[in-house]
């Protein structure tokens, strides 16, 4: 009897804690709604007076937005396309440079170190301009998208090489020893045992890099004639002196893409976590 009562008291406490946690979550959601409502209100264009004070909210040119939203929105697939192509090349570069760094072969270690250091030591925007503006001087002409994708791939490859290196290093010594004891060469061990396990560990953080890339891909617009979201937005914004409206549309798109891919990435992470150990 006594034990039962103690147990039910514990349960009460647990229930109370759960309730508090739930209420906290509800409050956060309510505040999100309030903030979003305020944001909409601020851009609603409504004008009203409270006694002597006149409140003026920001008025958006809805006619302009209706006309140009489809044009700007067509940049979204382009943004995703640039990001996907760049993240694929970046992953390959990252894997190669991580393997080179861990190879124990002096020229390869130096080359990978040089690559990572140089790229991480210079601005991404400079790198994009370099491929677009500097290379033609020595006879290499790259189109805007190609220059942009090259720069993004090289840049993200350098940053992701650390992720890949950590992934490869985190595959335990025992795995390597088992492979070697079974007669595998170093190359077979890396290809068949270490890299496949490392890739699983690397996928979630690479997802984060991809999401960052979605936004950094806007920098490619600076080369002109890359028909991605930001380029379209600033082009029509400037032409019609409607920068506020145009950029707001682009911002919403970037935000939505980020939310969507973050959700996807979180799910992926959950699934990966279930698979192993």
């Amino acid at each position: 009897m006594a034990a039962e009562r103690v147990l039910s008291r514990t349960q009460l406490v647990i229930r109370q804690q759960e309730r508090q946690r739930f209420m906290f979550g509800v409050q956060v959601i309510v505040w999100w709604i309030i903030i979003l409502a305020l944001l909409f209100f601020a851009f609603s264009g409504i004008r009203f007076s409270l006694g002597p004070i006149t409140i003026k909210t920001i008025a958006l040119d809805t006619e302009f937005m209706k006309t140009w939203a489809p044009f700007i929105s067509r940049g979204v697939p382009q943004t995703i396309y640039i990001s996907i192509v760049s993240i694929i090349f970046a992953s390959i570069l990252a894997l190669l440079s991580a393997l080179a760094r861990l190879s124990g072969i002096p020229p390869l270690v130096a080359l990978a170190g040089f690559y990572v250091s140089l790229i991480r030591g210079t601005p991404l925007l400079l790198q994009i301009f370099f491929f677009f503006l500097a290379l033609p001087q020595i006879g290499i002409r790259l189109s805007g998208p190609v220059a942009g994708i090259t720069a993004l791939s090289l840049n993200y490859g350098a940053y992701m090489s650390e992720i890949f290196r950590a992934g490869i290093e985190s595959v335990g010594k025992g795995q390597r020893e088992a492979a070697i004891a079974l007669g595998m060469t170093h190359g077979q061990m890396m290809r068949r045992i270490v890299v496949p396990q490392a890739l699983r560990l690397v996928i979630p953080p690479s997802g984060n890099e991809f999401i960052a890339m979605l936004k950094d891909s806007a920098l490619v617009a600076t080369t002109g004639f890359v028909q991605e979201t930001f380029w379209r937005a600033q082009k029509v914004g400037r032409a019609n002196f409607r920068g506020l409206e145009a950029l707001a549309i682009a911002a919403v798109w970037y935000w939505l893409m980020t939310i969507m891919f973050t959700t996807l990435q979180a799910r992926l992470e959950q699934r990966m976590a279930r698979g192993d150990r």
Partner: protein, 256 residues
Amino acid sequence: MKILQVENLHKSFGHLEVLKGIDMEVMQGEVVTIIGRSGSGKSTLLRCINFLEQPTHGKVMVDGLSVIVERHKLSRDQKQSIHEIRLRTGMVFQEFNLFPHLSVIENLIEAPVIVKRMKKKEAIGIAEMYLDKVGMSAKRNEFPNRLSGGQKQRVAIARALTMQPKVMLFDEPTSALDPELIGEVLEVMRQLADDGMTMLVVSHEMSFAHDVSHRVVFMEEGIIAEEGPPEQLLDDPKNPKTRMFLQRIIGEKQEE
């Protein structure tokens, strides 16, 4: 016929000399258990035989293939011989080291297919035979993380056997297991011994040393302090150090 031989084997890690000149021979079909306290060099000895650790100097011979190490840098021929030795030895680790991204059957056929370039079908045939031998056929398609420690170790033994080695090296195969899971692994090892496999076992399992092995080797501070048939070495050790070591184990057992 001697199938494994170690001659004047030395191994140092920096200034620490772990093996101070080991001489040992193992006959075909013989089961030898190496005992000794941790740090006595018994695992290092095992790992020098298949060159997971490179000996500082000394000779290792397995199944007629020998490698004499005199300096750190190895020649192409030596590397080739080491590869051949690894193909002739199977190793079982304390921590199992199954490949977590591969199913049980894939774990078994990986090396035969990749290293020996065996046809997949043929490899599967051999793998299934050994899976059956260790009683793990039912878990053929499971992934390692779904297995208990004892099951993992049995799969690891089958994986080593699928390479059809001449000698099996066991590096404390039951030390990472919960006590209730030790029995099933020892049983598999006993069967393997009965089948005539040559086995070199580093273990603290005195029952295995006593009942299964033909010879017991006691190592102390990087040398072989004493060796002999299990009855003699375990029941009537000549070397006072062996006696002390065994006394301590008995003491621990009584405390439990």
